[in-house]
């Protein structure tokens, strides 16, 4: 019978059926970080259990690391306690840990692919909702809670209910200045922040076929913002070329065998789906959010919604709540909204290609007076390559602060925070109330180049005009 990738990987990783009807699923790769793992190790000790597959468990530190001064102990004693705990746990249980001194540290969803740990046909779990990023490689990857981190540490399995699969085709051509981030924001706007509950998203069509791995990662990363716990792209030559010669990729004679195995995981041509959505790439414009949920997005040419024009009471209340928090005028163009902070980074858009693309246009330009602009590479390796290519200098010459690798202002668990009701043009993934560290801080999500345009203009702008993209 024809199967899609999700079904193939699910079947191969099924250990059995639990008494409550859930599947016991084998997790081939477990990624851990400092925020959601310490309590899981505590539970493991309480139960007198060991890590079952330490060699399939990989750790790094990302959420709490300061991006300016990384001297230990950190200024924040709580953050320092967390990184100390991770070191202790990694040592005690024999887990590979890409720490700050390794030269390989970074955001867990940047590190996995970079190291070649993320591979097609695998299951990947991590105590982090953006784990779907790894689905770009044709893996079934999803976020789990801390008690489930315990389950994976102790048994390399979790109890899970099988998801339905929705195929999302994006076909046609993207106009210049429209990026993977815009595709992600467009999909979420179309299907809603809860549209994906109960589904895995399979992304396909000519746009995904033509995307680089980094572009695929950007879209898979934001699956959870559309409610889908996991999202993936079928593996192909682009996937294999990316993985070739990575530290953890199969080597020598094993490589060809691995590739033919990986190819077999791709969805069969006649595979069936629980739902199919078709999107015309030409309909996608540079997209920005205007509210407090990632599905509250509009094209840069559009105006901020007016509650008076809402279709129903629920929609009106939600527009009202968002505009009150965002302090934005109903019905006004979003273009021209004053910006205080610009942030380029995160597991969504903190990869090498993001900095390369922005640097192409940033040369010779200056960040507007009064705007604080931060560029935070997703990993130490990304940072090293950026430096080698002189990209860091281009950002600094333009007036960006060039920082060390980490999650930084995406969720502001480190010292990088908005102040008061500052408005941030951000390449990250969530515009929730208070997300960027200030309870009244405001986030507008967009592509990295749109963030750069906002930084230069001091207001939300159309990057295509600011940089003459055509």
């Amino acid at each position: 019978m024809a199967k899609n990738l999700y079904q193939k990987v699910w079947d191969e990783h099924t250990v059995g059926t639990l008494q409550d009807g859930r599947t016991q699923l084998f997790i081939g790769t477990h990624l851990i970080h400092e925020v959601t793992s310490p309590q899981a190790f505590g539970m493991l000790r309480d139960l007198d259990l060991k890590v079952k597959y330490p060699k399939r468990t990989f750790a790094t530190v990302d959420h709490i690391v300061p991006t300016d001064n990384q001297q230990r102990p950190f200024a924040d004693p709580l953050a320092d306690a967390m990184i100390t705990e991770l070191r202790k746990n990694a040592d005690e249980f024999g887990i590979t840990y890409f720490d700050l001194a390794s030269g390989m540290q970074g955001i867990v969803h940047v590190v996995g692919p970079e190291q070649g740990i993320t591979q097609p046909g695998t299951t990947i779990a991590c105590g982090d909702s953006h784990t779907a990023t790894h689905g770009a490689f044709g893996a079934i990857a999803f976020g789990i809670g801390t008690t489930q981190v315990r389950d994976v540490l102790a048994t390399q399995t979790i109890a899970m209910e099988k998801l339905k699969v929705r195929r999302i085709n994006v076909d046609g051509e993207l106009s210049p200045g429209v990026y993977a981030k815009d595709v992600a924001l467009h999909i979420i706007r179309l299907l809603g922040a809860n549209g994906g509950i109960g589904y895995a998203y399979e992304y396909g069509g000519s746009i995904f076929d033509g995307f680089t791995m980094e572009e695929r990662m950007t879209v898979c990363n934001m699956s959870i913002e559309g409610g889908a716990r996991c999202g993936y792209v079928n593996p192909d030559e682009t996937t294999f070329n990316f993985l070739k010669n990575r530290p953890y990729s199969p080597k020598d004679t094993e490589w060809d065998e691995a590739v033919s195995g990986w190819q077999a995981y791709a969805s069969d041509a006649d595979a069936e789906y629980d739902d199919v959505v078709n999107i015309n790439a030409a309909d996608i414009e540079p997209t920005v959010t205007w509210g407090i949920s990632p599905d509250q997005g509009i094209a840069i040419s559009e105006s901020i919604p007016d509650p008076a024009e809402a279709n129903n009471e629920v929609e009106r209340a939600s527009i009202d709540e968002a505009l009150e928090y965002m302090k934005l005028p109903a019905g006004a163009p979003v273009k021209g909204t004053h910006v205080d902070v610009a942030f380029i980074g995160s597991c969504t858009n903190g990869r090498l290609s993001d900095f390369r693309e922005v640097a192409k246009y940033l040369k010779g330009r200056k960040v507007a007076e009064g705007v604080k602009a931060l560029a935070v590479p997703g990993s130490q390796i990304t940072a090293v390559i950026c430096k080698k290519e002189g990209l860091d200098q281009i950002f600094m010459d333009a007036g960006f602060e060039w920082r060390e690798a980490g999650c930084s202002m995406c969720l502001a668990m480190n010292p990088d925070k908005l102040q008061g009701d500052q408005l941030c043009a951000s390449s990250s993934n969530r515009n929730f109330k208070g997300r960027q560290g200030s309870p009244t801080g405001r986030t507008v999500l967009m592509s990295p180049l749109m963030v750069a345009a906002a930084a230069i203009e001091g207001e939300i702008a159309d990057a295509r005009e600011v940089f003459s993209v055509n």
Binding site: V15, P38, I64, G143, T146, D151, T155, S293, V314, S318
Partner: protein
């Protein structure tokens, strides 16, 4: 390990209306700077309860008449966003034993089930009516019964829903699956051995 079956949950309620209430709102990220879950109740909905200067924002959770509430009521897509188990842990540690909402984000739902905290769904109108009843009479006893999949208060009984596996796990005292997962170690071994990359 003691684990009990959960069939009925009852107590007084508190209504926290709104759509897409995310886990950052339930527990702001700065409260995640910890290595145990012990002190999380303090962070529960913190930034909608007090302003940055520490002044109260008169949130329902701080209203004396709802003190002691153990059933939380809310809107659609409750618990969306981050996978942080800190969110249901904070709700639990603040004294709540169940949540009734229009719908739940998946990871939050799974995390809550794993803590033995049932999350059941009702329609928007039903929750609105239940919320109004709780507002009118904060001492009103709200009762969730997983056997009949209903919630009752006063003279009213409504149907609630929940995935069958979670219901079964709660009722049969298997909501913490660790023992059953451990028991299948032979099957785990053979599954792992058959995978080319493990």
């Amino acid at each position: 390990m003691s684990i009990s079956s959960i069939t009925q949950v009852s107590g007084t309620g508190v209504y926290i209306p709104g759509a897409d209430i995310d886990t950052d709102r339930i527990i702001p990220a700065r409260y995640l700077r910890c290595v145990t879950f012990d002190d999380l109740a303090e962070g529960l909905f913190r930034d909608v309860r007090t302003d940055p200067e520490g002044n109260t924002l008169n949130h329902a959770l701080d209203d004396p008449k709802f003190q002691g509430a153990s059933i939380m009521l809310s809107g659609p897509n409750f618990g969306c966003g981050s996978s942080r188990e800190h969110a249901p842990q904070a709700i639990r540690r603040a004294g709540f034993n169940a949540v009734i909402a229009e719908s739940f984000a998946e990871i939050f739902f799974g995390n809550s089930t794993g803590l033995g905290m049932p999350c059941v769904c009702a329609t928007a109108d039903e929750i609105k009516a239940l919320g109004a009843a709780v507002e009118a009479n904060p001492q009103l006893e709200v009762s969730i019964d997983l056997e009949s999949m209903t919630a009752s208060y006063g003279e009213t009984t409504i149907k609630v829903t929940m995935p069958a596996s979670a219901r079964e796990a709660l009722m049969s005292a298997r909501w913490d699956p660790i023992q059953e997962l451990l028991d299948n170690s032979d099957a785990i071994k053979s599954c792992g051995e058959a995978l080319p990359y493990v």
